[in-house]
């Protein structure tokens, strides 16, 4: 038995990535996710509109609420637009016989916290109890909020893991070397390699959304085109991550390890489960580096809130930036795998070649 133990330790000592996963990662995950795992929401962004906006705003106190704007000239339409565009989660509309409180039902925990806080609120004499209306997800159905996010999570899994495995398989079988000698440009190889996965992931996306609508009755109220643009950018990032992972993995085991290292933070830090706004500032910035964070914003926005492209330009733009960065890095690294001569000599091979140094 001791011979086996000694052998295992020797092997582990040389497999630094696995040791890192076993020792460093749990500590890191515990710290990061400990700060991220927080259902208790504070600083819920609120807009108050109408003639009594200032009075309403004065009632909504920190730490539960954070009044972002007080607009005495604003109307219910103004308030709805701000909720739809994701600027606020709660809107107080004054001016009627009773104040109207609108809430963004896609923000489950924020709405639950806000409802509870409103119930505890001490109203000044003469102020009627507000009417509360939850928009986009009136019954606060969990599946309505989760399905658009889970669709993204599944596509992270397919796009990143399956793509990285596909590319690493080429390296392990030695066919990547052959491809490097064939008259194929690096871009042809990368595009040819990820196009089938992109297509399959897109088909998967359609299936997942259709099942979400059919089985879980999740509405799709917005523009399919906007959703498609966001989804396409998101898939480009996830498949790009797959290629990137493959370039630093020598075998499929390493690729799986790395893919899971990217998958886990996306599940826990993207806002899929815990609200990003409830995370500690120290870990919240990680959320803003994750493509799933932006895809969830787009998918919930389009499917549940009919958000127009003007309301989603920020997540769409950031996904586009991520796509350029991740795919760019993937292409650069993959080119190095495919054209080591170019890397080593800094010159393009000539035709016919007389590569002399």
């Amino acid at each position: 038995m001791w011979a086996m133990v000694a052998k295992e330790f020797r092997e582990l000592r040389r497999d630094r990535r696995t040791v890192a996963m076993m020792i460093v990662l749990p500590v890191l995950l515990l710290v990061v996710f400990g700060y991220a795992a927080n259902f208790k929401v504070s600083d819920i962004p609120v807009v108050a509109v109408g003639p009594g906006a200032s009075q309403a705003a004065s009632l909504l106190r920190a730490p539960t609420f954070q009044v972002t704007e007080t607009d005495a000239a604003g109307t219910e339409a103004t308030a709805r637009a701000r909720l739809r565009d994701g600027q606020d989660v709660v809107a107080v509309v004054t001016g009627g016989s009773r104040p109207l409180v609108l809430m963004d039902g896609t923000q489950l925990f924020s709405v639950q916290t806000a409802e509870a806080a409103l119930g505890r609120l001490a109203r000044p004499p003469g102020v009627a109890a507000p009417r509360v209306r939850v928009l986009y997800n009136p019954d606060l159905t969990t599946s309505w909020v989760m399905v658009p996010g889970i669709a993204g999570m599944i596509l992270v899994f397919i796009g990143t893991l399956i793509t990285s495995l596909g590319v690493v398989r080429e390296r392990q079988s030695g066919t990547l070397e052959q491809l490097a000698v064939m008259p194929l440009r690096a871009w042809d190889v990368i595009a040819g390699k990820i196009a089938p996965y992109l297509l399959l992931a897109a088909v998967d996306m359609v299936f997942i959304i259709a099942i979400g609508m059919g089985v879980f009755h999740v509405p799709f109220t917005g523009n399919v085109g906007v959703f498609a643009v966001g989804a396409a950018l998101f898939l480009l990032v996830t498949t790009g991550m797959g290629v990137l992972i493959s370039t630093v993995s020598q075998n499929q085991g390493q690729a799986i390890q790395l893919a899971f290292m990217t998958l886990l933070p996306q599940v826990l830090l993207s806002g899929l489960i815990f609200p990003v706004s409830a995370m500690a500032a120290g870990v919240r910035w990680i959320s803003y580096l994750l493509p799933l964070t932006y895809f969830i914003e787009i998918s919930r926005g389009v499917m549940l809130k009919s958000a127009p492209v003007s309301a989603l330009w920020e997540p769409i733009g950031l996904l586009a930036v991520l796509a350029v960065v991740v795919l760019g890095l993937a292409i650069v690294r993959f080119r190095r795998d495919l054209a080591p001569s170019v890397r080593a000599s800094g010159e393009r091979p000539r035709t016919p070649e007389g590569a002399s140094a």
Binding site: G174, M182, P183, T351, P352, A355
Partner: protein
């Protein structure tokens, strides 16, 4: 029009009315702190086979990688045609195990942009030559080792390359398949391709037009098998086993071969005409022990080219 010319499609015409020669000239490669190749020259002439022979770690694969452009040399010259005219079989499987034989050939044809008619005709020829016509629909992963190497070689030949580079085509392959593989390789040369193959099997090297004997990144000997044979210095003898004779010696079957750099064989050894395998071992011994006296007085436990194998 020859097959090769038909597939050349715009390649530069060879100069001087004969095929352009490719190969390595005085190539030096370092990998980390290791000198992988030290001034190695490997000629690759159209219509002939050059074999790079050596043991594991001798630098054979590095040679072929430099020749194909997979690796840039630190110094020296690598001459090769454009990628469209190179066929390469790596030491690994060199095929897609989850594609069928036909699908593997189809992918190669598309990668080299063969027209549909060219593809069909060449694929049929390749399948006939490799004896794989009966297993066209079988997955690459379900082929035997020998069949996989034949398919990989066939894929590299599909576009009738001007330069065929093939890394250890017969390692781990049964004797019958090895003969068939070498027939394929020789056929490619007969069609006009310059072929460079590596092997650890000394007997296979003797079939080549030119041989480069590599040991620890250096070319110990280079030339035709006859020239290498003629270059054997000293005397080679045979001594009966099991006791090891004095001086540099190595096993040949039940007997020992003995090499004497100064031509004086031990008493129990009788002189023999060295064959190619002897010539390779002698070259390795001479390189390892430039002072013949020291080799004689302190023979290596086994020849420096110990990794180079005899044909099994």
């Amino acid at each position: 029009m020859s097959e090769r010319r038909a597939a050349r499609q715009g390649a530069p015409e060879p100069s001087g009315g004969h095929g352009m020669s490719w190969g390595l000239e005085d190539v030096r490669v370092t990998r980390g702190r290791t000198l992988a190749l030290d001034g190695v020259t490997v000629p690759a002439e159209p219509g002939s086979v050059t074999v790079v022979v050596g043991g594991d770690g001798a630098g054979k694969t590095t040679c072929l990688q430099v020749l194909t452009g997979l690796l840039a040399p630190d110094s020296g010259t690598a001459r090769r045609p454009a990628k469209e005219h190179i066929g390469y079989v790596p030491a690994t499987a060199g095929l897609y195990t989850d594609l069928t034989v036909d699908e593997n050939l189809d992918f190669t044809a598309r990668a080299y942009r063969l027209s549909g008619a060219d593809h069909d005709r060449r694929a049929d020829q390749i399948l006939d030559r490799t004896g794989l016509a009966g297993v066209r629909t079988r997955l690459g992963g379900h082929l035997s080792g020998g069949m996989q190497r034949k398919l990989a070689t066939g894929m590299a030949l599909l576009h009738a390359p001007e330069l065929l580079v093939i890394d250890e085509p017969t390692t781990g392959v049964d004797p019958v398949s090895r003969v068939e593989l070498w027939r394929l390789i020789a056929g490619a040369a007969a069609d006009g391709a310059a072929v460079v193959a590596s092997t650890t099997y000394v007997n296979e090297a003797s079939r080549a037009a030119r041989v480069v004997l590599l040991e620890a990144g250096k070319a110990l000997a280079s030339g035709t098998p006859d020239a290498i044979l003629r270059g054997v210095s000293g005397a080679v003898g045979t001594a009966p086993g099991p006791a090891r004779p004095a001086g540099p010696s190595w096993r040949r079957g039940a007997n020992w071969r003995v090499w004497s750099p100064d031509g004086r064989l031990p008493d129990d050894a009788s002189p023999v005409d060295p064959d190619f395998e002897d010539a390779v071992v002698v070259a390795a011994l001479a390189a390892a022990s430039p002072s013949s006296a020291s080799a004689s007085s302190s023979p290596p436990a086994s020849p420096p080219a110990r990794e180079a194998r005899r044909e099994r």
